[in-house]
Amino acid sequence: MKAAVIVFPGSNCDRDVKVALEQSIGGPVSMVWHRDTDLPPVDLIVIPGGFSYGDYLRSGAMGAHSPIMKEVAARARRGVPVLGICNGFQILTEAGLLPGVLMPNAGLKFVCKDVYLRIGQANTVFTRLYRPDQVIRLPIAHHDGNYFADAETCKALEDEGRIAMRYCSPDGEITEDANPNGSLGNIAGVLSANRTVLGLMPHPERLAEAALGGADGRAMFDGLVEALAA
């Protein structure tokens, strides 16, 4: 399977996700500079976490307009899976590849900690190794992860099974206490209509190895490899 990680000047989880992907793939992942306009043929595109252009105006706003994003959008339209993690999620919403926006956390502070997540949609290339309603633990690390979309959009996401995961308590309850950033409906990750684009705030690459304190993220990468290794 071939995967590419898009690197913006301010990306800082690019190496992390490359390491995690390579662990699952067992082979190299290519890194593509944001200013490049052509993308090698790949089975998966990852937009990693970080601060793409400093993110001083709005997270992801500038990244969404970088030259490579036109090509990413074109591939996404053709059904190539695109995974946006954290800043990657912010970029995907700013680029219009996913609905909604990620506003500053309700607490107005950066939050880095482990959270529990309940899988909402397990029937995707990203989440196929999780069970529906399975509770997993992953870290978040963001200042702007407060998901917002208008009521109509939210309803559509709900009805179409496009909510990939929600923040929950350790035993799977969707509660306000378990919501780390004020996201509408505790939404932590959303899918495109055809379920091949996933944006999520938590970092699966940070807990993909037992030595780092947990491996719940690994199933996402293993699942992708299983699904995409032709």
């Binding site: 000047p9 301010g10 800082n12 989880c13 601060f51 400093g54 940070r206 030595a211 780092l212």
Partner: protein
């Protein structure tokens, strides 16, 4: 708007004084130059001879610290210290203060402190892999404290998170003596290949001097702001003393430097820190015994009409100076342009031994380099030793209260309360190598791509240092060593940040000399040399000095990270073993502070021989897989340490105090056992207590079984308190405090 600030032609005594130069120092300047300096030259002298750049009050004493060990590649004198961590790799690290700027503007002051220390490390070719921060705030009840905590923590996070370097540890304590002068000490640890380390010594007459990074503005022109009010009224508005950090640019600068460092283009490189272009160019040339010629018109400038004085003294952030190999200029330029950073050849190395600056076709300065560096003042300031403390206040019978209530109070006091509110604002996991996150004794960060890990910690107990600077200095080093040991690491070396008051006062100078003496002893006995550091003096407001605060940043190595342990109880029914001797020393303990509001008595003495023996034993046992959890006993004493282990593991413990029955106990002895702060001690758990006690006996290390893990509470001699209740006390204080008005 292209007017330039009118600059004085005449150097008056007032201008000299405003530059912080004494009459004697000015006489030396006249002597070196053989003429009067112009204002730019005076500015250059003033920053080069400032306390910050010249270490004039501290040099004599710093020289007495041990700086060598077989694993030390480079000790103090470069941008950061370097130690060998095997397999062709080195750890490069340093700590630096940003106290004053953080008090004026907490967010930007702390943020730029992080930026500055990062540059010190990556300028040497190391990729930064971890940040730590040691914070000392005033009394929580003081009007400014909350605002300062909020700003400083947000600033440290704002910078480090964006740059993408995890902030993995630190300290955060409170004391009224810091009300008017907080301390913000930031530390960075980086990793480099030993055959690709970069130094600041310039070489190669004719080689280009290159400026990269952000443009130069009128930021932080220190002496200048003061000096300039005189010749320009709206200078305050024009020359903000506060520097604003741009972490995104720093991130670009790191990546661009790393990219260029992978080639052979760089001959020498130096970040522009305090005193910016002046000290960086000066030091590079001075180390290489060369001269420099700079054309200041070529310096990328953010504002119009900047003078030579302003350009040379600006402290704009995110800038570097390099000497390039001939012919490498174009390649280097393309790297920096790729990262959208300014790149300018601003001068050339000469063999004249002089610093010659031109601007607008005119000579702006012409100074001899070596005489200026050699004549840099060094003072043997008078000092008086700190008098010994009278004995600690007695605990009146009945005043000590039920011990578990005291425990709860201690766990919720500002110094011991959980600092989760702080570290959750720091991305402590980016780079995906953080093995032990904040909350333990030392953070553990994997050496990327290997099975090894670095352990790191920052420590100092100002209460101890104030009561007895020598013992306090010794203790700070020993505690850092102990914290590294407690995770199983081999302590390798330290960096320090010496925060003191006004050295012109003999009693303050005495604190400094004392702390150095204590540190020296401990560094020697523990083979734990100083490889880098920073001195911050004049930490005073209205004549009131801060407590002497020699912050120690320690780094250690774990050969196999799978063997690292942490403080969390790992299972039920395990034996809880106390290592080290307990005398019940209560002087300067947190218990006395909390129970009696009394900071009295001498601090606990550090027996360096026992320290070494106990620590070496612990490390051997961890390395042999004999220990399931380990925690050193520090502030708050034994019972607090037990509780911290219980909270971390979410498993309780039953603890039995030695021999005597509770009712015939001398309250002082009992409190001393539970809350005394005797040094050199650890608590460990093991599945086989008897065998561990046997090993300790063989090694001649004091050890005793004091309890067993299990349940959901701490039980002590028939009393009990649930972990949840203790956790609530421990976790609640800081967030509640910060939510206040």
């Amino acid at each position: 708007m292209s007017e330039t600030s009118p600059e004085p032609r005449q150097i008056t005594p007032d201008i000299i004084a405003r530059h912080g130069l004494t009459g004697e120092e000015y006489a030396k300047i006249l002597d070196i130059l053989g003429r009067e300096p112009n204002i730019t030259e005076l500015g250059i002298f003033s920053v080069m001879w400032s306390e910050h750049c010249s270490y004039k009050s501290s040099k004599k004493w710093l020289k007495t610290l041990p700086t060598e060990a077989p694993w030390v590649i480079c000790g103090p004198g470069e941008n950061a210290g370097i130690i060998d961590i095997g397999d062709g790799q080195a750890a490069i690290f340093k700590m630096e203060s940003h106290n004053h700027p953080s008090f004026i503007e907490p967010y930007q002051g702390a943020a730029t402190g992080v930026g500055g220390i990062l540059r010190d490390v990556f300028t040497m070719g190391a990729r930064p892999v971890a940040n730590l921060n040691a914070l000392r705030f005033g009394d929580p009840g003081h009007g400014k404290t909350r605002h300062l905590v909020a700003g400083v923590v947000a600033g440290i996070g704002g910078y480090g998170n964006c740059v993408g370097v995890p902030t993995v540890g630190g300290e955060c304590t409170f004391h009224g003596a810091y009300n008017g002068n907080i301390l913000v000490n930031a530390m960075t640890v980086g990793i480099a290949d030993t055959d690709n380390i970069f130094y600041s010594q310039a070489s190669g007459v004719g080689n280009a001097i290159v400026y990269v990074g952000s443009k130069t503005g009128r930021d932080g022109i220190h002496g200048a702001t003061m000096a300039s009010t005189e010749f320009n009224q709206d200078s305050e508005e024009k020359r903000p003393t506060v520097q604003v950090g741009d972490p995104f640019t720093e991130k670009l600068l790191i990546e661009a430097c790393m990219e260029l460092m992978a080639t052979d283009a760089i001959v020498a490189i130096q970040d522009m820190g305090a005193a910016g272009l002046t000290s960086s160019s000066f030091e590079m040339a001075s180390k290489g015994d060369l001269g420099v010629e700079l054309d200041l018109d070529r310096v990328p400038q953010r504002e119009e009409g900047m003078t030579a004085y302003e350009i040379m003294l600006s402290e704009s952030q995110e800038r570097m100076l390099m000497v390039l190999r001939p012919g490498a200029e174009d390649m280097a330029r393309s790297v920096f342009e790729k990262w959208e950073l300014d790149f300018a050849i601003i001068g050339v190395l000469t063999d004249t031994g002089r610093m010659v600056l031109t601007m607008g076709g005119e000579r702006a300065a012409d100074l001899p380099i070596n005489p200026l560096a050699e004549a840099s003042p060094e003072y043997d300031r008078p000092w008086t030793p700190t008098p010994a403390s009278p004995p600690a206040a007695a605990i009146p019978p009945g005043d000590d209260g039920p011990p578990l209530e005291s425990l709860k109070r201690l766990l919720g006091c500002p110094d011991l309360a959980s600092k989760r509110w702080v570290w959750e604002q720091y991305d402590h996991m980016v780079m995906a190598d953080t093995v032990h996150r904040p909350g333990g004794d030392a953070a553990v960060v994997r050496v990327h791509g290997t099975a090894k890990a670095l352990a790191m910690t920052s420590d100092c107990t100002p209460r101890y240092c104030l009561a007895d600077p020598v013992e306090g200095g010794r203790q700070a080093v020993a505690e850092a060593w102990r914290n590294l040991t407690a995770v199983g690491a081999r302590p390798l070396a330290i960096t320090d940040c010496m925060n003191f008051g006004n050295p012109e006062k003999p009693e303050i100078m005495g604190q400094f000399v004392g702390a150095i003496e204590g540190m020296r002893d401990a560094c020697r006995a523990l083979e734990f040399p100083v490889v880098s550091g920073n001195v911050s003096l004049y930490n005073e407001t209205q004549g009131k000095a801060i407590p002497p605060t020699p912050t120690i940043g320690g780094v250690g190595l774990l050969e196999d990270l799978a063997l690292a342990v942490n403080l969390a109880f790992a299972g039920e029914g395990q034996d809880l073993i106390l290592i080290g001797e307990t005398k019940g020393h209560l002087g300067q303990s947190l218990y006395l502070c909390q129970a009696l509001g009394s900071e009295t008595g001498p601090p606990p003495p550090v027996d360096l021989k026992a320290e070494r023996g106990n620590g070496d034993f612990i490390r051997a046992m961890i390395g042999g897989g004999r220990i399931t959890a380990c925690h050193d006993i520090a502030d708050g004493g034994l019972l607090v340490a037990v509780a911290e282990m219980a909270l971390a593991g979410n498993i309780g413990a039953r603890v039995t105090a030695p021999a005597a029955t509770p009712d015939n106990r001398d309250p002082r002895l009992y409190a001393g056992w539970l809350f005394g702060e005797d040094q050199g001690r650890y608590l460990v758990t093991t599945t086989d207590g008897d065998s561990l006690l046997g090993e300790a006996g063989k090694a001649g290390v004091p050890a005793a079984k004091i309890g067993v893990t299990g349940g959901g509470a701490i039980e002590l001699d028939g009393q009990r308190m649930t972990i949840d209740e203790l956790r609530d006390a421990n976790e609640r204080w800081l967030p509640e405090y910060m939510a206040g008005p």
